[in-house]
Symmetry: C2
C-alpha cells in the first residue's frame, strides 16, 4: 500500500517540474519516445508474448486476446500517435480571457496543466502510451494503473517512457505505474487526493461506477451512450435512411452508435417499412412501441427497460412520437445525454432540438457517429465525457488543462 502512496507522491513532485516545462522540451521528450519505442520494439513484443501466453492459459476470450496483442504494426501505430501529438499545439500558457478593472488591475485567465493525473484502464496496452503522451504534452505527470493481464507489456512500455523522460532531462517520475495486480491497489489509488488532481477511468460501465463511488479525487467519467435519431415530419427521407443506417450499423459496438429511432407519426407509415427493410438486411433486430408494431407487425415489442438500454449491438428500438416536443422529452428522460440527432427540413425545429436536448453532442442532419475527438478536429482524444463538470463530450489536450487567474497591478490594495 505504501507503494501506491509513494508513487502518487513522486508523480505530484514530478508534476511541479513539468508544470513549467517548455513546449520544446515536451516535444523533445515525444521525439525521443518515438525513437525508443522503435528501438525497443522487440523487447516490448517479448514482454507482450508473456502476457499473451498467460492470458491464453487463463482462457481469455478471443476478443480480449486481440485487445491485448501488440505486434509490429500496432507499435507503428503507437509511434504514429506520438508524432500526431507532437504536431498538436501546446495548450499551456494560452491566455483565454483578459479584462482591465476600473482600479487598473489587469486580470487574465491562463491555461495551465491540471498537475497529476491518475489513469485507470483495462486490457488494451496502447492506452499506456496514448494516454501518457496526451497528459505529458499538456504538462501533466501521470500515475497509471493498467489491467493485470497486460502487466508485462505495460511495464515494458513504461520503462521506455522513463528512458525517454530521462534522456530529455525530465524526472522519470513524470510517469509512474502501479504494477500490483491486486485490486486493492486501485482502491488505494482512489484515495490519493493529496497528490492526484483527477482520475480518468477507462473501461466498463460497472468499473467506472466503482471508481466514481470510491474516489475522493474528482473523476472525469466516460458514461454510456444511449443515442437517438429522431426523424421529423419534414425530413428528407433518403437522408434520414442514410443517417439512421450509418448511426446504427457502421460500428454498433461503440458509445456514439445509435440505439433508438424516434419517428414522427405523420411520416411513420412511409418511413418505417423502408428503414426496417434496410436495417434487417444488415441483420439489425428491431423492437418497437405499439404504434411502430402496427406498421411493422413482425418486430418484437419494446419494453420500458429497452428505452433506457445501451445495446452496443445490432439492435434498435423504434418509437413513434407526435411532435418534436415529445421526441425531446423522451430523449431527455430516457437517454444517457451522450449524442442525439434530428433529421429535419425545418430550421426552427432543428434549432429547438439543438437548444433543448440536454446531451454532450446534439446534431441536426448528421450521424451521431461523429462524436469523437478526431472528427471534432481536436487531433486526439483521451475519452468522451458524459458528465457536465469540466469537460463534456470528446476530450482533447485542452480538457487535460485548467485555468488560473493571473493579475497584474501597480500596488493596488483593497479598500
Amino acid at each position: 500500500m505504501i507503494n501506491v502512496q509513494q508513487k502518487a507522491a513522486d508523480v505530484r513532485e514530478a508534476s511541479r517540474i513539468l508544470y513549467s516545462a517548455t513546449t520544446e522540451k515536451k516535444n523533445l521528450f515525444l521525439r525521443k519516445l518515438a525513437h525508443y519505442l522503435k528501438d525497443q520494439r522487440r523487447n516490448i513484443m517479448i514482454a507482450n508474448r508473456q502476457d499473451m501466453e498467460a492470458a491464453q492459459e487463463a482462457g481469455l476470450s478471443k476478443v480480449l486476446l486481440d485487445r491485448l496483442l501488440l505486434n509490429e504494426e500496432r507499435i507503428e501505430q503507437m509511434i504514429a500517435g506520438v508524432h500526431a501529438v507532437i504536431a498538436l499545439p501546446d495548450p499551456v500558457g494560452k491566455i483565454v480571457s483578459r479584462k482591465k478593472r476600473p482600479n487598473g488591475l489587469i486580470i487574465e485567465r491562463m491555461r495551465v496543466p491540471l498537475g497529476a493525473v491518475g489513469i485507470i484502464y483495462e486490457a488494451r496496452p496502447n492506452v499506456t502510451i496514448d494516454a501518457s503522451i496526451l497528459c505529458l504534452k499538456a504538462g501533466n505527470a501521470v500515475l497509471l494503473r493498467g489491467g493485470s493481464e497486460a502487466l508485462c507489456t505495460n511495464a515494458a512500455l513504461v520503462s521506455v517512457l522513463k528512458v525517454a523522460l530521462e534522456k530529455t532531462g525530465l524526472p522519470a517520475s513524470c510517469v509512474e505505474f502501479i504494477d500490483s495486480p491486486d485490486r486493492t491497489a486501485v482502491t488505494e489509488m482512489l484515495k490519493q487526493d493529496k497528490y492526484l488532481d483527477v482520475i480518468i477511468p477507462r473501461g466498463s460501465q460497472s468499473f467506472i461506477r466503482f471508481v466514481a463511488e470510491n474516489s475522493t479525487i474528482p473523476v472525469i467519467m466516460h458514461g454510456e451512450g444511449n443515442c437517438h435519431v429522431f426523424i421529423d415530419k419534414s425530413a428528407n427521407l433518403t437522408m434520414a435512411e442514410e443517417i439512421v443506417f450509418n448511426a446504427k450499423v457502421q460500428r454498433p459496438s461503440v458509445c456514439n452508435a445509435t440505439e433508438k429511432l424516434l419517428v414522427h407519426k405523420s411520416i411513420a407509415k412511409k418511413f418505417l417499412p423502408r428503414i426496417a427493410k434496410r436495417l434487417q438486411e444488415a441483420h439489425v433486430e428491431l423492437r418497437g412501441d405499439d404504434y411502430a408494431r402496427s406498421i411493422l407487425p413482425s418486430i418484437l415489442p419494446a419494453t420500458e427497460e429497452d428505452w433506457y438500454r445501451e445495446y452496443l449491438d445490432l439492435k434498435i428500438a423504434v418509437k413513434v412520437v407526435s411532435s418534436v416536443e415529445e421526441a425531446i422529452q423522451h430523449i431527455n428522460k430516457y437517454g444517457s445525454h451522450h449524442s442525439d440527432a434530428i433529421v429535419t427540413g425545418t430550421k426552427s425545429v432543428g434549432d429547438k432540438f439543438l437548444r433543448e436536448v440536454d446531451s454532450a453532442a446534439v446534431y441536426v442532419n448528421a450521424s451521431t457517429r461523429f462524436t469523437d475527438g478526431y472528427e471534432f478536429g481536436m487531433g486526439a482524444e483521451i475519452g468522451i465525457s458524459t458528465q457536465k463538470l469540466h469537460a463534456r463530450g470528446p476530450m482533447g489536450l485542452e480538457e487535460l488543462t485548467c485555468t488560473k487567474f493571473i493579475v497584474r497591478g501597480k500596488g493596488q490594495i483593497r479598500k
Copy 2:
C-alpha cells in the same frame, strides 16, 4: 429518506423546464421575488425570531447569532442582490466556439445550464436567496439544505421563492428545500447522483471534506486559503508594506487574507523591521524562521506546521528566502493554491512567478484580497473554487453552466 430522494427527483424534473426558459422569464421571476421578499418581510422576520430564540436557548455564540439574524436591513440587502442578478447577462445560449470541419459539419459549443444543483450550507440564511437566484438565473433548479439553526427562516424564504416561481409560471420545484434537521438527510442527498448534477458545499473545511468524501455527485469545493506575499529584492518597499498590511489586516477572517510573508534575503534587514512594526501596531502576531528571527529577535519561532496553516486571524509567519525560485517552491509545496502575490520591480521575475505558482489566482504587485467574484468583475459570486476541475477561483454565473456541442450537417455520415 424517501423525502430527500423525491425532492431531488422533483428538482430534476423542474430543471428540464428551466433548461430552456428565456432570459425574460428568468428575470420576471427575479422581479417577482424582489416584490414578494419586500411584501413578506414581516413573516420572514417572525420566522427568524423563532430561530433566534431557539438559538439563544441553545447557547449559540454571539458570532453565530449575528450570522443567523435577519432584520429589515439585511432583507433589503437580499433584495438589492436580486436586482443585481437581474442586471447580469444570461450566460445560457452563448456560443463559445465555432468551427467548420472539412466534411462541412459546423461544430459549435453552446453554454447551457448544469441542470440540478445541490447546495448545502450552514448558518447564514441569506445563502438561501443568494445561491438560489444565481442558480436560477443560470437555468438551474436547486435543492437546498441549510443549517438546522435557520430552519424556520429558510422555510419562510423558500416559500417566498416558490410563490415567485408560481406567479411566473415556472414549476415551484425549481427550488426545493430539505427541512429535516437530521444529518443523515445530508448523507442521503449526497447519493442522489441520478438526479443532481453537482453539489456545492459551503461551510467549514471539515464539513466540505465530509461532503467530498461521501458524495457520489461531483462536488465543487471551496478550499482553504493559505495565501502568501513574496517581497522580491527589486520590490518598491513602500508598495510592499502597503500590500502586506492590506492582505493581512484588512479582513483577516477570510480565505483570501494573507497568512505568510516571504522576503528576499537581500532586503530582509531593511524590510522586516519596518513591516513588523506596522503589523505589530495592528496587533498582528508574527512568527518566523531562524533568519527572520535573527532580524526580529522578539518574534516566536515558526514550526513546520505553521507553513501549512490557514490562521484566519491576526497572525502571520515570516520566512526569508534566497531567490524567487525558492519562494515559488515554498508556495507550491506549503500553500493551498488559493491566492499568492509577488511584489517586484522586475517584469521577468513577476512573469516567472505568474507562470510557475500553481494557484487559482496569482498576483504581481497587488493584494491577495482581490480574489472575489465582485472584484474580478463577475458581478456576483457563488463561492471560490480551489479545485482544478470545472471552475477555479471566484465562481460567477458562467461557472454554474456547462457547454454542449451543437453540430449542423447536411446529411453527413461517417465513413
